[in-house]
Each structure stands twice: as C-alpha cells, then as structure tokens.
C-alpha cells in the first residue's frame, strides 16, 4: 500500500505537510517535557533537602555525552545539506556518523544507569546512614536489592564497601582536611547484619525524589534517542533507492527526522546542567 504524500508546499502556509506535522508534534513535545521540567522545579523547591548532583553523577561522562549529541546535531544537518547538494555519498557518511553518535549516547547512558543500579544507600536501625556498594552471598555489586528482598531470601548478612564520600553531600575541596579524611576512609569494608538494616535501596527511582525525577527525565529522553535512531537507521538503509526515485520526498524526510533530532539535542542541553551540575 502506498502512503499518500506530497512534497508540494501548500499555498496558504508555504510549507509541505510533513513539515507542518513535525512542528506540531514538536510543539506537543515541548509541552510534555515542559510538564516534567515544571515537576522538577516543584519537587526541588519543595524539598527539605536536595542532593548535590556532582557527588552522585559522573560529570566527565555527562559532558562527553553532551558533546556526542552536539556533534550528532551538526552531522544530521550536514546530512540534509548533502542531499540538497545532490551528494548521496556524503549523506550516507554524515547520517552514519549521526547514528553512531546516537548509539554511543545510548551506550554511555546505559553504563551510567547500571552504575546507579548497583550503588546503594543503607539506613541502619542505630541511626547510621551511608552510601556504598554491596556483596551478597559472594556476588559483588548485585543490582536492585532492597531490605525486603534480603529478608525474602533469608540473607542474614551482607558485605558493605562504604563510599569515601556520602551520596548527596557537597564534595570537599581538593587538598582540604575533609578530603584527606575521606581519602583515609576510602572504601572501608564491613560486614552488616541484615537485622540491623532499617532500609536498603539501590539508586533507583524508588530511592528518592531526586532519582525519581532523574530517571523519568533521562529515561524519556533516552526513549526519544532510541526512537530517533530507529527512524534514521531506516532512512540510511533505504537511502539509495529512495533518493534515486523520489529525491524531494526523501530530502524532506531527512529534514523532518533532522528537526526531531535537533529537538532531542535541545532537551538534553537543559537536562545536563539541571540534573548533573546544579
């Protein structure tokens, strides 16, 4: 079945239909992310305590991923420009780089997520509270354990490797007495009886308000990246035959998918500072 399409701009708007469609879709996306950004503001302003993200998230990795998305935004516009100049060979290269960047972004984000899911915070019944990595029944760094899961599996003790610096507290300045003290106590390992644990949670959405909004925002953004890469890969694979038979339509498809991709980049430009740096 042939899907109806036209590449002719409408007389009233001067735009072809797909372009109007993508901009209306992006308008709805602005409101979707706007609602979540508003939720972030409300949660943060209303919180009694908000963690210092620098002590939780990896800034160099976040910066690297931001650079990767920016580079992909440049290559996607160059891919479109190549088609406009009738250079299918260059399009294939630039679109290929864009897809590669998108896959790198998703790969790095997956690594970041897995790091969080094997990182824990423990609240003991005697009032202590620390962030750590755990070992359960000889298995190092298991994911998604909770105090309830420990009880269900009749695990009586776990080995805990404490972080040199507690989750959420501002990082001490380099060379300060506090930094030296943290270095002295770096990776202290102790055995903890599960009966003494009041709560144990990995850094998952259920851990705290911060992680709930962090995973919601970055997860939704990652879904957009994955959706974008699927579409761009399809266009990349079918480019040869499509561009030869219907060049205007194909170029318009690349422009439309490129607009979506720039929006994904634009959202990340705000997500990176508010979640990683502020």
């Amino acid at each position: 079945m042939d899907i109806p399409y036209t590449t002719t701009p409408r007389e009233d708007t001067g735009l072809y239909n797909a372009k109007i469609g993508i901009w209306l879709f992006l308008a709805s996306e602005v409101m979707l992310f706007g609602a979540l950004f508003s939720s972030y503001i409300l949660l943060r302003v209303g919180a009694d305590w908000w963690p210092a993200p620098r002590s939780i998230l990896n800034i160099p990795i976040g910066t690297f991923n931001t650079a990767v998305l920016i580079i992909s935004s440049v290559t996607v516009v160059l891919a479109w420009a190549s088609l406009k100049m009738n250079r299918l060979d260059r399009f294939k290269i630039f679109q290929g780089i864009t897809i590669l960047c998108a896959l790198i972004f998703v790969g790095v984000k997956s690594y970041e997520y897995s790091e969080k899911w094997m990182h824990y915070e423990i609240w003991t019944k005697d009032g202590q509270n620390y962030s750590c990595h755990i070992e359960v029944n000889g298995k190092k760094n298991p994911m998604f354990y909770t105090h309830n899961k420990l009880a269900e599996q009749n695990i009586t003790e776990i080995t805990v490797t404490k972080d040199p610096h507690k989750y959420g507290d501002p990082l001490p300045d380099k060379g300060s007495a506090e930094a030296s003290s943290a270095a002295d106590h770096a990776h202290e390992t102790v055995v903890v009886q599960t009966a003494d644990i009041k709560r144990l949670s990995a850094f998952v959405p259920a851990h705290s308000t911060y992680f709930a909004i962090y995973f919601t925002l970055t997860g939704l953004h990652a879904l957009h990246v994955i959706g974008g890469v699927v579409v761009m890969f399809y266009l990349w694979v079918t480019a040869g035959a499509w561009f030869k038979s219907r060049p205007e339509q194909f170029t318009n498809r690349i422009e439309v998918s490129g607009l979506f991709w720039h929006f994904v980049d634009l959202v990340w430009i705000f997500l990176f500072p508010i979640l990683y740096l502020m």
Binding site: L24, M31, V74, K84, F243, R246, T251, L259, F270, L277
Partner: protein, 126 residues
Amino acid sequence: MSHDHSPATAHAHDDHDVSKHIKGYLMIGGFLLIGTALTVWAATMHFGSDALNIGIGLLIATAKASLVALYFMHLISEKTAIYMFMSVTVFFFTGLVVLTLWASHDLPLNSEHLRLPKPEAAAAAH
C-alpha cells in the same frame, strides 16, 4: 493524493544556498561545544548564591538551545505559520514554568510541621 517525483536536478538551485551555510553549521557546532565547556566551568564557580549559579547555568543553556533552534532547525528564516505554532507553544510553556515557580512560593520550606504527631505525643496533648 499527489505524487511529486521531482528529478534530482531540482536540487541544483539549492546547491549554492546550502553550501554557503555549511561553514556556519560547523561554527555553530563549535560554539555549542564551547558553551558546554563554559557550563561545566560555571558550575564549579561560586557566584555568590545558589540562585545566581543556577541562573547563569540556565542562561548558558538557553543561549545554546537558541543556537540549535535558530540555525540547525532554521527558525531564523522559517515561514510565518511555524512562528505562529511555536509562539502559542512558547506562551503556554512559559506560563507552565512561571506559574509553577509562582506556586512554589506557597510551599512550606520545611515540611516538618506537616508530619503527623507520634501517637504518644498526640495522646499527651489530649
């Protein structure tokens, strides 16, 4: 249903227009990377208050986002219809954020007083 199978030569008139923009796209990409480095650097500085730090961070992010929207998404030279759609979106987005910030002043800064009293404390009060 309309099928417009324009030949590839239809692109010829666009060649010059597009090719002269390529250097600009690369420059914008460079500015965005510099802006990212600037954002990370600004986050390590203490500008006097948390609010100022957040404001500066968001200002740099807004400048970067504007470059993406104006040049990569070609909003700098779009048709009126798109400006109309996006004006409505910007209006409602701004309203959403501003109303949220406004409402946040009604939130208690410390919610301790909202917690239910412990049973023994409640019994003693009676």
